[in-house]
């Protein structure tokens, strides 16, 4: 197991290296000049040259590249060129806990919706209940999360005044305050994610229910809640976990977008704000960190997969 973990970790680091490379070269090689955009296309040739020299953009691309890699390796993502000029790593370190809080809570919300929904529609296959769950899942999948966020704000903040419409309070200031601020965005992000997971649970549960050992148990009249929860459901989870890795992209994307609706200064808000401010070091840094999150979340899913499926041995 340790060997497998090390191997996977090494693999993830190689991918991180490649991601850093891609992030770097996309910015350098694609049409569109960041310096020109930074100056809102208004700078004269002199100003452009000065900025270029300041950020080392006048040097050959390969020199810039090795410099960028060397700095990324030690966690230095450069400095913001807008407002405070703070270190990018500092800005990201401040926003990361918010994004992680929101993403994890959204994941929990999604499971709360998806597990019962998926189980019910598998157990009551082809009934009205199943059809209803399916249509709701389709709605969840088709709904823009940022719009759902706005609808939630209109209902729960605007009309009912139950929950705050914007902002974030760290967990250190109390669980309730933290939850009160995050629950609406978490529902907005978690619902589309739940729709995907519920449909996966349904189809994988249906397959498990067709298996010999369940059919035998069934024929003995043993289709009890215990049989379903202890014998069928864990096995149905195995294929679900593998695809969760892919679906995590939706969760992360949702977080990036919805943070902007609720003015939560997480990675997503930082990313979009820095794009609008033409603050390229921050854009580059946050894209890199978001991809890193995605890569490591996927790694975690893979490791989890070996834990829940004892048939898989990697030693």
């Amino acid at each position: 197991m340790t060997g497998y973990l090390l191997q996977r970790l090494l693999g993830a680091l190689v991918v991180m290296f490649a991601v850093a490379t891609l992030v770097f070269f996309m910015l350098r090689l694609l049409p569109g000049d960041p310096i020109q955009t930074m100056l809102f296309e208004m700078g004269d040739a002199d100003a452009v040259e000065r900025l270029r020299a300041k950020y080392g953009l006048d040097r050959p691309v390969h020199v810039q590249f090795w410099k960028w890699l060397g700095r990324v390796a030690v966690g230095d993502l450069g400095n913001s060129i807008y407002g405070s000029r703070a270190a990018v790593s500092q800005i990201i370190a401040e926003s990361l806990p918010r994004t992680l809080s929101l993403a994890s809570l959204s994941f929990v919300v999604a499971l709360f919706i998806a597990v019962p929904a998926g189980l019910v529609s598998a157990l009551y296959k082809q009934t009205k209940l199943d059809h209803a769950v399916t249509v709701v899942a389709f709605l969840g999948l088709s709904m823009p999360d940022f719009w759902f966020a706005i609808v939630l704000i209109i209902i729960f903040a605007g009309n009912l005044h139950w929950l705050p419409a914007i902002g974030y309070t760290p967990l250190s200031e109390g669980l309730w305050e933290w939850l009160r601020h995050l629950i609406l965005p978490a529902i907005a992000i978690g619902t589309p994610f739940a729709a995907i997971i519920a449909r996966m649970i349904r189809s994988s549960m249906l397959e498990v229910l067709q298996m010999e050992y369940i059919r035998v148990a069934r024929s003995k009249g043993l289709l009890t809640p215990r049989l379903i929860m202890v014998h069928a459901f864990p096995n149905a989870l195995i294929p679900v976990v593998t695809v969760t890795g892919i679906a995590l992209g939706i969760l992360l994307t949702g977080t990036v977008v919805v943070e902007n609706v609720f003015a939560i200064k997480g990675l997503g808000r930082v990313l979009i704000q820095s794009i609008l401010n033409r603050d390229f070091p921050v854009v580059q840094g946050s894209i890199f960190v978001i991809s890193a999150l995605f890569i490591f979340a996927n790694l975690l899913v893979d490791v989890l997969y070996t834990v829940i499926d004892p048939r898989i041995r990697y030693d």
Binding site: V15, A18, V19, L22, V23, M26, L27, L30, P31, G32, P34, T37, V135, F138, L139, L141, S142, M143, P144, F146, W147, F148, I150, V151, I153, I154, G158, I196, R199, M200, V243, I246, A247, L248, G249, I250, L252, T253, V256, V257, N260, V261, L271, I272, I275, L276, V283, I287, I290, S291, F294, I295
Partner: protein, 297 residues
Amino acid sequence: MAAITDPTDEGVGVSQGQRARWWRHLLRDKRALVGVIILSFFVISALLAPLVAPHDPNAMAFGLMIPPSLTHPLGTDDLGRDLFSRLIFGTQVSLFVGISTVSLALVVGVTLGVVAGYYGGFLDTIIMRYIDLQWAFPNFIIAVYLVAILGQGMWNVIAAVSLAFIDDFARVARGMVLTIKQEQYVDAARTVGVSDWRIMWRHILPNATAPLIVQGTVSISFAILAEAALSFLGLGVGVETPTWGLILADGRTFISRAWWIGVFPGLFIMLTVLSINFVGDALRDYLDVREVKEGGA
């Protein structure tokens, strides 16, 4: 394709009978039928937008933020423009971006996938390394980064979103080619001297269409959502064009005073994407395709 006629040419492609079967399948599947009907409404209103829209989408009236009424079925926005008309014109943008994005991603992705799968070896390694690398980013994040670099605008958004989807198509196409390449008729074609190019496009690809069609449908709905999200975040087609995401972003500012500006654009997006997903699901059933990932993240 000069002198050699291709004796293995018969029976390639979608036949009339297959098409008729698909329509029968569609009529039986209630969700798919609902999807086709809703989608037709959107397509027709996009094509005939100037005729269908009751008002000029950019004409400002005296009534700012009037709630839905008979003259303004979905109300007016903060500048007194008719929301319904703006949303109808927004349909044009959403559908155009969705379709052109996926067409572009399909052409590029399928070419990469087919070439990688057919030739294998070094070419395959290079292409697949790139595809794997792209896999390490969530699609939407790539699109955001590309728009950040390229700048706003219709074509930049299309380029950005389609590049984000290329890996999905390449993967599906490559997988299909690897399977089909083993078939006897491919060997047969090669033996009689049919060119590689012709084998790829005439013999392999037509048999790989099922998963590509399904992937394409899934991707269109995600492209529409992505464009809306980009516009919503201020990274979209531009402020002159009324798009669903942009109108929704405007609406956010006024949620306490005019809920309709924020709510209706989202309903339009949801209905469009929902109908495409319904059709896509029916296609997936009908074509018996499993390997296409759901979600398209």
